[in-house]
Amino acid sequence: MAFWQSRSETTKGYATVAPPLLYAFFLLAVPLGAVLVLSFWSQEFQTIDRTFTLANYREALSDPLYRLLLWRSVKIAGATTIVTVLLAFPIAYFVSFHVPPHKKSLWIFLITIPFWTSYLIRVFLWKVILGYGGVLNSALMGLGVIDEPMTFLLYNANSVVITLAHAFAPFAILPIFVSLEKIDRSLLEASRDLGESTAMTFLRVTLPLAAPGVIAAILIVFIPTVGDYVTPRLVGGPDGTMIANMIQVQFLQLSNAPLGSALAVLAMLTVTVVALIVSLGIGRLVRAPK
């Protein structure tokens, strides 16, 4: 297609896209490259030794603590993703299929509002809700549902999953909603006219067509949650600490930027591998039953 388009259109296109592209190059690609390079250097007290070494990676992969944190981050982010997407799907479905068109944007607006407001304070309030003398325990004890406060709610992986599922809800709802909106409604009628039940129509028509949105939702929730710092720090307790907390400690407290860089690179690699498996795996799963 290149030969018929005018040369000047290409030039103008590049000229227009250049400022954001250069910005992203110098403030994203170059810094990420710097982290990669730094991860192969080492910290010698105050200075950085610039000889190539794999020592940081050896330490990061052999020390049980780092391995545990990395594995736990993937597990917590995975659990968060599953919970968030499962909870989000019915909402997206409800708004797309059962809300009258003129009220749809109001619903989407209502869903996105809590997401924009003070992240730190929201996470802190989950601590207030889930704590030993917290809102949930006092309410349930007041109602006589439980006799003693529940202690499994706060300062562990559960509380991190609950809080993150709350924080990332709109990220899961919006892509699924968009893909549901794109479904041609006459396809559903056709399926029903041809004798499929409502449930089978959902499974064989709606769900496969919504798959791109679901895959997008899974990735958009999983990738940032692996590296979340605030939630594990505030509500995670010792059993809910994740890799981002260790990266922060290496950089800002132990002043070991090279080891912190290696951990950051490993975290990004893990995220990339999981993201590839998810997008390829689910894509195949959906296309298979043809």
Partner: protein
């Protein structure tokens, strides 16, 4: 479908539960953030007025948020314009690359910028280093909003202006800009809101001058300052609801101006 509607309402309660608690504790005449409530008071709001450290942090955050919002929106206009108007090799890849900060964990953005700024250039951390990071993460959101504004623009209007003898710059200023203006306002407001609330990048890149979230983070460790933080949170929630409503009104006005049916949502 009544079950689904009940579920939807239950889900909204889950989404709003933490925010609904904020004003309760902000007006509660007790230092402990727990039930039962103690009685009504304005004193935590009055306390906000007498905390100079907070005022400095708020001013820092406002400066950063305004600058980042303008920079991100200017860069976003370029990307959205290129996306809607021109075809060039590697377009999808280039635009995809610019959107990457949207899905990258923020700690990675913070750490990598810190490495470049502190370890390589040995630059001093300041409000400007935070602006650099915030512009980067606001840019994809600005592009997402501006893309729909530029996509809905009818190219024949611009062609008509050129045919009638306007210069390209005047065409952009007199025809394009007014049509995409609602998208620009919406992008500015959303970028401002994101920057104002962003913590982790600011945490890594702020020097001696903390931003508001960095200040809040430090205060969360002290039980005695929590009620004041609840009062601050209440104001922030009210403020961001106002900002978002304005952004939403502008977004809808933009859609109406372009003559497109509303499909909902910022993103």
């Amino acid at each position: 479908m009544r079950g689904l509607k009940l579920y939807a309402i239950g889900y909204l309660i889950f989404l709003y539960a933490p925010i609904a608690l904020l004003p309760l504790f902000a007006f509660n005449d007790g230092t402990v953030i727990a039930f039962p409530l103690q009685g009504f008071t304005w004193k935590w709001f009055a306390g906000l007025a007498t905390t100079p450290a907070l005022h400095d942090a708020v001013i820092n955050s406002l400066l950063i948020a305004v600058t980042s919002a303008i920079l991100a929106t200017l860069l976003g206009i370029c990307a959205a314009r290129a996306n809607a108007r021109y075809r060039f090799p590697f377009k999808t890849g280039i635009l995809g690359f610019i959107m990457v900060p949207l899905v990258l964990p923020e700690i990675i953005v913070g750490v990598s910028l810190l490495v470049v700024i502190a370890n390589i250039f040995s630059m001093r951390l300041s409000l400007w280093t935070v602006v650099l990071g915030h512009t980067l993460i606001c840019m994809p959101f600005a592009i997402a909003i501006l893309n729909s504004a530029f996509d809905n623009l009818d190219a024949s209007l611009e062609e008509a202006a050129v045919d009638l003898g306007e210069t390209p710059w005047n065409t952009f200023r007199l025809v394009t800009l007014p049509l995409v203006m609602p998208g620009i306002v919406s992008s500015l407001l959303i970028s401002f809101t994101i920057s104002l609330d962003e913590f982790i990048i600011a945490f890594f890149l702020t020097g001696a001058e903390p931003t508001m979230p960095v200040y809040i983070w430090a205060q969360l460790r002290f039980p005695q300052s929590l009620p004041i933080i609840m009062a601050l949170g209440t104001i922030l929630v009210a403020l961001s609801i106002v900002l978002l409503t304005v952004a939403e009104i502008f977004r809808r006005r933009g859609l109406a101006r372009a003559g497109v049916r509303d499909t909902g949502g910022f993103l």
